[in-house]
């Protein structure tokens, strides 16, 4: 967390006595842009950041500006609302401290949904990551028509989530949907269940849709990652006598590790917050057994107009993901630092 604090205290870094622009650094490449003497006045007067740091600020500016304008304020408002009593318009009318959170904690349904969200996320991310990796390896093999195969892989992702969800909902129907008809007629599953009719199969059905939508992304990201591995490493391993499997473990996996770690972290966040799929395919039913935190939050806000508790759920989601990410991020930053 130290790093984070220092970002905000950027201006006060003068106290730390950072080196000046003109001072030569050990490595010529890191000396920063060529500074003509005239500009030096402004630069030196502005702050005592290193040349690199000033450049970094310039480079980070667009991203930071966008986020400050369009994310920080909305998120801030939400956090404030979580601690307030809201009217039906979402305006905060008073403060209830931890009241909203306590009410959520007292509701057994909330804990059920919370646990279910973990299950949903764990299963989803595991399958997406492993299947995505497998798919990427497949698509990396040199076979003719690979380009077409890659193109076809992207298609599920290219359909808007709500539309995919609706198409799947239709396909899952035991009377009209082609899934059960296909399973029955090919003999793969002579008596398939009515997927959306029972809680457990409905959960699995939702899971399948979420995985289906998320798989192309992973395949693509891992595929891109595989391109960054220089073939020399494979050749070296082959010379050392490593077979295909051993090459995978000793070359591919280590190189892909940062991608896998970061990709799965992002996937955890996205899957945790996946709204369209459970909401549209089953509307959180039957009997709210497919409700996850984000659909529950949506209902609380828009159906019941309880914006305070809904914001509280948002904060809980955020804190949960933050804690998880911090644990996970240690892995990542250790890789990269």
């Amino acid at each position: 967390m130290h790093a984070r604090r220092s970002t905000r205290r950027g201006e006060s870094s003068e106290r730390r006595g950072a080196p000046e622009t003109g001072a030569p650094l050990s490595h010529p490449a890191r000396a920063g842009p060529h500074v003509s003497p005239g500009r030096g006045v402004i630069a030196r007067a502005a702050s005592r950041l290193t040349a690199e740091e000033r450049l970094a600020v310039l480079f980070l500016c667009p991203a930071l500006l966008l986020m400050a304008a369009f994310i920080f304020y909305p998120v801030g408002t939400t956090i404030v609302t979580a601690f307030g009593a809201t009217d039906k318009l979402g305006r905060v009318r008073g403060f209830v401290g931890w009241g909203n959170f306590r009410a959520l904690g007292a509701d057994p349904a909330f804990w059920q949904i919370f646990r279910r969200t973990f299950l949903w996320t764990a299963l989803g991310v595991t399958v997406k990551t492993s299947a995505g990796l497998a798919m990427a390896l497949l698509l990396n093999l040199p076979f003719r028509g690979r380009k077409v195969a890659r193109m076809l892989t992207v298609i599920p992702w290219a359909i808007p989530y709500p539309i995919s969800a609706i198409v799947w909902q239709w396909t899952y129907n035991s009377q009209f949907g082609l899934l059960n008809q296909f399973l029955k007629s090919t003999g793969l599953w002579p008596h398939p269940p009515a997927w959306l009719a029972e809680p457990r199969t409905a959960f699995a059905a939702n899971m399948a849709v979420d995985i289906w939508i998320g798989l192309p992304f992973f395949a693509l990201v891992f595929l891109a990652g595989l391109q960054a591995i220089s073939p020399e490493y494979y050749e070296a391993a082959a010379i050392d006598g490593a077979g295909v499997g051993a090459r995978f473990v000793s070359v591919t996996l280590p190189f892909l590790r940062p991608v896998i770690v970061m990709g799965s972290l992002l996937s955890v966040i996205w899957t945790f917050n996946d709204f369209s799929v459970p909401y549209i395919v089953t509307k959180g039913g039957p009997m709210n057994t497919t409700d996850i935190l984000v659909t529950h939050m949506y209902k609380t806000a828009f159906q019941f107009l309880d914006f305070g508790p809904a914001s509280a759920i948002a904060v809980i989601t955020f804190v949960t993901l933050l804690v998880f990410s911090l644990l996970y991020a240690r892995l990542y930053f250790r890789e990269v630092a």
């Binding site: 740091e53 966008l66 994310i71 890659r150 709500p162 990201v221």
Partner: protein, 298 residues
């Protein structure tokens, strides 16, 4: 390998022939295996797409046949004609395209420098910045919907392209910055240093060296941002109310009526909506190949 010259001279051609044969076999197995496994995976993946294809070629009555059949009876292309004639599908596509391209461009404009900074420059708060990007991802768009809506209203950006371009940019910034940073980091420092010593500015280094070498990362970012913006629903539904400004996703949703879903139109239009994404992918896919850029730089 035995190094008696005579024995070698005898065995070499035979060895070469055997090697050539095994190489051919390997190629065949690779070809067949690649396609079989991919084919299987693709079939599972594309099952709903096949459903969509089949449905889009049916008449509405045929869609509701119980039990359903894969083969349309009668086969009709009328749906594809209808969606263009009866609905402003062209306008929807145009809007989605503008927003997709705009968001991609804006995102790259912000993420390339930011990614480069995270990868190459040493500055305090570097890890903090990455963490900040990640934190932003943790809020579902639904959470920020109403406050963001108020911001857009205050900026008079409702019913304009800007609202969605900016929103889609902001929500994909974390991924693109990370992706680009990891690719920039993988570029050997010597190449850049050589360029800088030769008199290039940082900007030129980035443009002429870093980006081409990081091509797979840039391509992945482009695809990711474009598809995310193309598919986005909740913000598009909330910020845009005029019919002619609707995006494709919102337009598709209007086929879902209060009492019935016009499946035949919905599927046809959804398939049409996939085409631009596929075209984009076809253009950039060749950069998803290793070594290409590195080689050209050297």
């Amino acid at each position: 390998m035995p190094d008696q010259p005579a024995a070698v001279a005898v065995r070499l051609p035979a060895l070469r022939r055997r090697r050539a044969r095994s190489r051919r076999w390997r190629a065949v197995i690779l070809q067949g295996g690649g396609w079989t496994l991919s084919g299987l995976a693709l079939f599972v993946l594309l099952f709903p797409i096949l459903v969509m294809l089949s449905t889009s070629l049916k008449t509405l009555n045929d869609v509701y046949r119980v039990p359903p059949s894969w083969v349309p009876a009668p086969f009709t292309l009328q749906n594809f004609a209808d969606i263009w004639a009866r609905y402003p599908l062209g306008a929807y596509l145009r809007n989605s395209l503008i927003i997709g391209v705009g968001a991609t461009a804006l995102n790259l404009a912000a993420a390339i420098p930011a990614g480069y900074a995270v990868a190459r420059l040493r500055f305090r708060g570097r890890q903090g910045f990455m963490l900040l990007l990640l934190l932003i991802q943790m809020f579902s768009p639904i959470v920020v919907l109403i406050p963001l809506f108020k911001i857009m209203a205050a900026l008079h950006w409702l019913d304009t392209y800007w609202a969605l371009i900016v929103t889609n940019t902001v929500f994909t910034l974390a991924f693109s910055t990370w992706m680009l940073a990891s690719y920039f980091r993988a570029i050997p420092a010597e190449i850049e240093e050589a360029a800088l010593v030769d008199g290039c500015t940082r900007a030129q280094t980035i443009l002429r060296i870093a980006i081409p070498v990081a091509a797979p990362g840039v391509v992945t970012t482009i695809i990711y941002v474009f598809i995310t913006a193309w598919n986005e629903f909740i913000f598009a539904l909330t910020f845009i109310s005029r019919t002619e400004m609707r995006t494709l996703t919102v337009g598709l949703y209007t086929f879902i009526g209060r009492w019935a879903v016009q499946w035949h139109y919905l599927m046809a239009a959804a398939l049409v909506g996939v085409v631009p994404v596929v075209i984009l992918f076809m253009f950039v896919e060749r950069h998803l190949v290793r070594g290409l850029a590195l080689g050209s730089v050297k």
